[in-house]
Symmetry: C2
Subunit: 122 residues, 2 copies
DNA sequence: ACGATTATTCGATAAATATCGAATAATCGT
DNA sequence: ACGATTATTCGATATTTATCGAATAATCGT
């Protein structure tokens, strides 16, 4: 079983900042919903009703925090949620910002009923 | 058993913003560590090495988000973490930003081995 | 009541964030 | 190779955030 490596505070601040905005939180939720397949920039801009250049700005923040990934597919650039990273953020919050009697540690996973969350080992 | 009422996105953004800063995250972690007894403004300003007026500024953000409470004790103003609120934030993240296969829902609690977290019913 | 202690409010200022349109880059179809 | 599609970068600008010292408020001891 893999050790769970908790992120450091600077990363945590970056990750929290990345989610701490109406449009970015909306984008991230859409990507979570979309699962590993992800969504392209156009679909996101359309769903959130934001100028393409503004959306790019926000996606950079999520990318920089490592909460989403980016890949190219022909003319499209596809973004997808990084479930392991979100796992790490929640793990940090639970262990550092939630008191000591927590009861359990949740694990994010895109696929129902399949337990295969990898944790990056340092 | 009380229903767990999830916070709405605007509150979530406020709460994430409140935590998304080096000094505020540090302050909040100190308050979590301190438990219900809390810490006064001076102790916090001292620990974080921040001008009193700057600290107040940050505590307002945490207060506004409902993540901490404020009470007066003689000359001191004592701040304490609101565990139920943090519970709500983590609950929101787990349920909305973490995929569907989560496995469990953590519950924040200041006192080890005592299960008495109240949830505000709407 | 008065000086000392503790904390907040108030200005002023510097820095970071968010927004958009126009220009540029990358890729596709044909 | 060329026009069309998709997305990012670049400027410009408005707003918000963060910081601190000085002034104000609240409370304590005596």
């Amino acid at each position: 079983m893999n050790e769970i490596v908790l992120p450091d505070p600077p990363w945590t601040v970056a990750a929290l900042s990345a989610l701490a905005h109406e449009h970015r939180l909306a984008a991230f939720r859409l990507l979570i919903e979309a699962g590993p397949a992800g969504l392209n920039a156009g679909e996101l801009a359309n769903s959130i009703a934001l100028a393409p250049s503004s959306l790019t700005f926000h996606l950079q923040a999520l990318l920089h925090a490592g909460l989403i990934t980016q890949r190219r597919a022909s003319r499209h650039v596809i973004y997808a949620a990084d479930f392991a990273a979100m796992n790490g953020l929640i793990g940090y919050l639970v262990q550092n910002c939630c008191g000591r009697d927590v009861g359990c540690t949740p694990a994010c996973n895109p696929i129902p009923d399949t337990r295969r969350w990898e944790q990056k080992s340092a």
